[in-house]
């Protein structure tokens, strides 16, 4: 297997990792905001958050990507390819994450909130100090899954000319024709990025759920 292919593929891997981390950060923030928004006491906020979730879960991430990159310029909004990629991936994964956030918050036992009321915490304090820390532990395993899905979905942005790993693979295949080698490298490299992410999420899980095993 030709080592000579590696420098180009690794350059692509660097972009893949940047895309993954930037989209994951966006997805996390959006998931928390939309997840909390769906539980808001104010109906307009619930509707807004619900609409976001349904639209981004219910349409293809590829179409969303094309919208951000090819369609928005028709309305005068021009994004560079990387920004369009991060936006599409982050908002798509964030919509799934919002449902995880909502479900995790709802699964914290009612008695915890009642204890918070009995101790006269404000509603915001109850959420931040009592509910969210417990809900977060439940969010992590699905978030880990979403993160790996996100990593693999970054391959789609090769279609809007971002030179990430899959894009570089295609280019090399065109120029060298060494199809088997190139795609074998791609398999290995994606796994080499994904597995440490899995381990990292697991380590965080262990830390934040220490009280459950204590």
């Amino acid at each position: 297997m030709g080592i000579d292919l590696l420098p180009t593929l690794l350059r692509g891997a660097g972009i893949t990792i940047q895309l993954t981390l930037a989209s994951a950060a966006l997805a996390l923030v959006v998931a928390l905001i939309a997840g909390l928004g769906r539980l808001s006491p104010w109906k307009p906020i619930r509707i807004l958050a619900g609409t976001y979730v349904e639209v981004f879960r219910g349409t293809s991430v590829l179409v969303q990507l094309f919208w951000f990159y090819f369609a928005l310029p028709l309305f005068g909004i021009r994004l560079d390819a990387f920004a369009a990629g991060v936006l599409a991936l982050g908002l798509n994964v964030g919509a799934y994450g919002a449902e995880t956030v909502r479900g995790s918050i709802l699964s914290v036992p009612r008695g915890q909130i009642e204890a918070g009321i009995a101790l006269n915490f404000s509603a915001a304090q109850r959420m931040r100090r009592i509910v969210l820390p417990q809900a977060f532990v439940m969010m992590l395993p699905p978030f880990g899954n979403n993160l790996i899905e996100l990593l693999k979905a970054t391959a789609l942005v090769s279609l809007i000319t971002i030179p990430e790993m899959t894009f570089e693979g295609y280019s090399l295949q065109m120029t060298t024709g060494r199809t088997n080698e190139i795609f074998l490298w791609l398999l290995l490299l994606y796994f080499a990025v994904a597995y440490p992410l899995t381990l990292g999420v697991r380590a965080i899980e262990r830390r934040v759920s220490a009280f459950l095993r204590a």
């Binding site: 009321i117 304090q125 417990q134 204590a214």
Partner: protein, 273 residues
């Protein structure tokens, strides 16, 4: 019970007012078709220890939950230390209270739950200090001193760094008692606090409550199925049936010479089992 004639607009702090610390005035609570509290009139005097007994579904837990602002009544007014709890005065009439008003009046009330409801992600010490620090604005060191004192009092001074999952049910409930005491309420509610415990752990919790009832100035409202305990600690025993006070009086009278046939058959059933 004779209705207390004190003016609803009586002074806000109970110190200059010897009136009741809690007063239910014609309070009704319905869940769907089921009426759980039925035009209830009920008072708790300052420092009074009341045991509430009665068949399940009689509304006794609902009284506590209405007082703790966990369940909103459909009708009637609840006063805590002279102030309406679920309502606030506006232009001479009572309107539904907002969250700020609820928090202001609710600070007088504390509660210990049947299922403890300790915060599983916090150590024993933090369970007890969290609200004093973040609700009452105490300093960390002040809150921790108080927590250590309270945990000592409930016999758990050596468990401060443990997590709730490492404790027995009886220990959990004792932490929950310390946690509620740390807020220094004027009225403490105990909702069947030994019902979820293994039989051999009931005693340790009841002993703490016996000491507490003897030593504290707070009023205590105790919903319980432990009749001997009710007899020991209560100044007054209230027998609840179908959302109303069916009979009440000193323990000696209720347990030895109940007048109401419903009280008689209830006590016969629980004492003979």
């Amino acid at each position: 019970m004779p209705a207390n004639a004190s003016d609803p607009a009586s002074p806000e702090n109970g110190r200059s007012d010897p009136g009741p610390v809690v007063r239910f005035e014609q309070v009704t609570k319905r869940f769907g078709d089921l009426t759980v509290l039925d035009r209830l009139d009920f008072e708790v005097a300052q420092n009074e220890k009341i045991a509430i007994i009665g068949p399940s579904g009689s509304g006794k837990t609902t009284i506590l939950r209405v007082l703790m602002t966990l369940v909103e009544p459909n009708e009637g007014v609840v006063y805590v230390d002279g102030e309406p709890l679920w309502h606030k005065p506006a232009n001479g009439e009572l309107v539904r209270a907002d969250e700020a008003h609820l928090r202001k009046v609710r600070k007088n009330i504390g509660m210990v739950f049947q299922h403890f409801n300790l915060f599983p992600h916090m150590s024993v010490l933090r369970n007890v200090t969290e609200a004093p620090i973040h609700v009452l604005g105490r300093s960390r060191s002040e809150a921790e001193d108080q927590a250590l004192h309270l945990l000592d009092k409930v016999g758990l001074g050596d468990k401060t760094d443990q997590f709730p999952s490492q404790l027995s049910g009886g220990q959990k409930q004792r932490v929950a008692i310390a946690r509620a005491l740390a807020m220094q309420p004027k009225v403490m509610l105990f909702d069947e606090v030994t019902s979820a415990l293994d039989p051999e752990l009931v005693g340790e919790v009841l002993n703490i409550l016996r000491d507490l009832a003897r030593d504290t100035e707070m009023a205590m409202l105790i919903v319980t199925h432990e009749m001997q305990f009710a007899r020991d600690v209560a100044d007054r025993v209230v027998f609840f049936d179908s959302g109303r006070v069916a009979e009440e009086g000193p323990p000696s009278k209720i347990f030895s010479a109940p007048e109401n046939p419903r009280t008689q058959s209830f006590l016969k059933a629980v004492l003979d089992h």
